[in-house]
Amino acid sequence: MSSVQNMSDLPQSAPQPAVKADPKWFVMGGVVSIVAWLALVPLFFLIYQSFRTPGTARKPAIWTLGNYLEAYSSSDTLVLFANSVEFAAGTAILALVIGTALAWMTERTNTPLKPLFYALSIIPLIIPGILFVVSWIFLASPKIGLINLVLQKLFGTEKVYVDIYSMAGMIWVDGLHYAPIAFLLMTAAFRAMDPSLEESAMMSGASMWGIFRRITLKLAFPAVAASFLILFVRSIESFEVPALLGLPVGIQVFTSAIYDAIHSYPSNIGLAAAYAITLLVITMGGIYAQSRITAQGGKYSTVTGKGFRPRTIDLGRWKYLTLAIFIVYALLVVILPFLVLLWSSLQKYYSVPSWEALQNVSLAAYMTIINYPSVGTAVWNSFILSIGSATTVMVLTAVVCWIVLRTKIRGRWVLDQIASVPLVLPGLVMGLAIMVCYLAIGGGIYGSIWILFIAYVTRFLPYGMRYNTTSMVQLHKELEESAAMSGASWLTAFRKVVLPLLKPGLLAGWIYIVIVSVRELSSSILLYSPGTEVVSIVIWEMWQNGQYVELSAFGVMLIATLFVFVMTAQWVGKRFGVKEN
């Protein structure tokens, strides 16, 4: 994000008449206040809360260090910390290994079916995390897990082969879930690397392995380290996996501990806030380190325009091995999880695939879902929230980016930093902060759907910033200036020139935010109340109620809908000349 700061030292566009109130200043002032409020105020309340005792009717809240004492004096905290780090590091490494291998195969080898694979690798990004975890429980739980049952039948034993309710299981599921992100990060890294660096090693007589070890790996190191940190932060923030797989067997990490502290009786929000602050410090450290590495790695970025062309290594017969790896990956990440959901959605009661069970296939669960009371509300809420927050975020950040990149207002880089603050806030921590904040402020926001709207807008501000920055950097200032020279007012110029040119980037960002909003669980879980459920919450509740079959049916419908949405959006994008970047 800091790349934005020194982009524009150019003079501001048309000179402004001195005194006259310009709509520009109203728009800008409004946007700046909104962004600052969203990003900073809840954080302030979170810190405040972590130093307060719980207030009750009889005893008002007072200042205390007790929360931190409680959090840090217990030896449990050490275990918590160790668990969190083990889980996050394990997940990050697993995801990175898978992602790097796949990225290398698609970018640098002649593995067959690459284009298909690239499309396939994006699909996991639209599967909500909770559905992915649930499907892996169906696959690998000790009691009902398909893998165990199949192996047991095969060998005629009672032995439990795989147990998803373990640290290894947690790492496995979250690692697979983040592998697509690692894949995208590493693909970008490979694309940024001039292949002639490897070719010149080959001309020097180095072997394949020598090239990989001495050139490719070394050059990719900054990207690998940065990706590791991103994945580490992501996984230390993840909520679904620790909550569904860790909590039942008592493996706690920070996120599940925060959730537990809030949901214990009496709920201990101060303690939760103290944990949250600790988690925040870790994620901040991670993101800071990552931005440092990325900045330093800049000297390694070696793309030169001319003579740069993608080259692929001819793997010979080995390409069937890499193809097999692709297929296994697709099985583990997309096909098996989806099939197991589909299977269980077609049953009356959850049962293992068998000939008898096949006779009982029914669509009853789908009927149940359609008539399920909270589903209609939840779908409507998610729809409104995702469209509303995606639109709001893209518009807000378009203005913020414009201010940061295009004006000479002093201190504009601070605005960029503020809008990026939510990046370091784990979803659960954000939910907690917003909850504390609007409980304290009152005004009926807590308990209404607006609180979710605020949470989503805040949470996805940084994504909007990223998409807008990328497209606005490419937009030449002269285009705007010539609009001003033609006599257009600032508002007209922005509406008629800037916005249309930004449309591709805006649309791509908008689609992305719609999808992540529909998937959002970890903030929503602290903020919803009856009547304001969203789809991920309904899935969560169904899981708690043991309604596996209905959950699966709902999950299948949700994935199908999101898939159709993405396809349509891409088709619309192509049709109307919106380019992917």
């Binding site: 010149s200 020097s204 030169t304």
Partner: protein, 376 residues
């Protein structure tokens, strides 16, 4: 030394037929010679060079180096690039940013099968580094070199392996004009001193003329003419070559027949009948284009004595542009404008009559094979 026979290289394309980037490329380079592939952007020079290197796998043809076949489509031979022992300098230099200058240059020796001792490596590397005047930068990080220094490092890295063949892909194109001129001489000197057989790719005709023993001009994936710089410049065989190398006047005409006394062909053109040179088979009534370089169009203020066999015509000065060391004149002859490059001492005012003399040796007749004109 290096022989290419009927080389064809294709790139698969997403939709449609594959891109035929090099077609039927055939040439031979004797040992120790400097051979240049010259042509406009996208004509397949890099593709040809990469095919020689083994970085692309041609679909047809044969490549032999020192009697050893490194590629043959027919015999299914393909020696991978890391076993060919060719030095190559990439257009982007491809200097490894995570290594020092020394480590970059030492890499080819370190990855070698038959290992050298540390001292031997050190000695060899320092020798090449001093040959390219980089020895005092040996311990510096490679990213902290200037463009010209990076270029020399890339060259050192290619030289240190004592290659059979040196392949250079537009090594000077990223340098500024002054440096380019200097590096041009450096390159020539090093190549001559080491007696290295060199294949050089460029789209800059000046570079090609200055450096090469022999030039192959390419267009649209094919070689259109091979020859020494002089042959290519003085006697282009097609309009494309004449136009691509230097500036030239094109005068359309019709071949009349062989002139009895001089044995040259006469061509009827809008500026009069011209005696011309040609190496190609002409026939009477054939449509031809006469190409003559501006510096071969001599301008005289006094009518010259009718020297035997010279083309003499008269025209009017239409425009002139002073360029410092020369003056460009545009001379109108009938309705045709002839470009001439003259010495600045010639000061004929615009509108004045002027006499033009052209040596038939320099007026090159090129048969016009384009169907449009042939039909006209």
């Amino acid at each position: 030394m290096l022989t290419l026979k009927g080389l064809n290289t294709e790139y698969p394309s997403q939709k449609g037929p594959p891109v035929k980037a090099a077609q039927d490329v055939t040439f031979e380079v004797p040992a120790g010679k400097f051979f240049t592939l010259l042509g406009p952007s996208g004509c397949g020079k890099t593709t040809t060079l990469r095919s020689i290197a083994g970085l692309e796998r041609p679909v047809g043809g044969e490549i032999t180096v020192n009697g050893l076949t490194v590629f043959s489509a027919e015999k299914r031979i393909f020696i991978p690039p890391n076993q060919r022992n060719f030095g190559m300098v990439f257009q982007s230099y491809a200097i490894w940013p995570h290594m020092t200058v020394f480590a970059n240059a030492a890499f080819p020796l370190e990855v070698r099968k038959n290992k050298l001792s540390k001292n031997e490596i050190r000695e060899k590397v320092m020798r090449v580094l001093s040959a390219v005047a980089l020895d005092q930068y040996a311990e510096r990080e490679a990213t902290r070199l200037s463009g010209g220094q990076q270029q020399r490092l890339a060259l050192a890295r290619a030289l240190v392996m004592e290659p059979q063949l040196l392949l250079l892909d537009e090594p000077l194109s990223n340098l500024d004009a002054k440096l380019r001129d200097r590096m041009r001489f450096e390159l020539k000197r090093i190549q001559r001193d080491l007696g290295l057989t060199t294949i050089y790719v460029t789209h800059d005709q000046g570079e090609a003329l200055a450096l090469s023993h022999e030039i192959a001009v390419m267009n649209e994936g094919r070689i259109v003419q091979i020859g020494t710089p002089r042959e290519i410049y003085d006697h282009p065989r097609t309009k494309f070559v004449a136009d691509f190398i230097g500036t030239t006047n094109f005068i359309d005409g019709v071949a009349l027949g062989k002139d009895g006394s001089s044995g040259r062909w006469t061509v009827r053109t809008p500026i009069g009948d011209l005696l011309v040179h040609t190496d190609q088979a002409l026939a009477a009534d054939m449509r031809v284009t006469v190409s003559i370089r501006p510096e071969d169009v001599e301008l005289l203020e006094e009518p010259a004595a009718a020297a035997n066999g010279q083309n003499l015509i008269t025209g009017l000065v239409d425009q002139k542009v002073f360029l410092g060391d020369m003056v460009d004149f545009q001379v109108k002859v009938n309705d045709y404008t002839l470009l001439s490059r003259a010495h600045p001492s010639l000061r004929t005012p615009i509108g004045d009559k002027i006499y033009v003399r052209m040596n038939p040796e320099k007026c090159v007749a090129i048969p016009d094979l384009s169907p449009a004109r042939a039909a006209a």
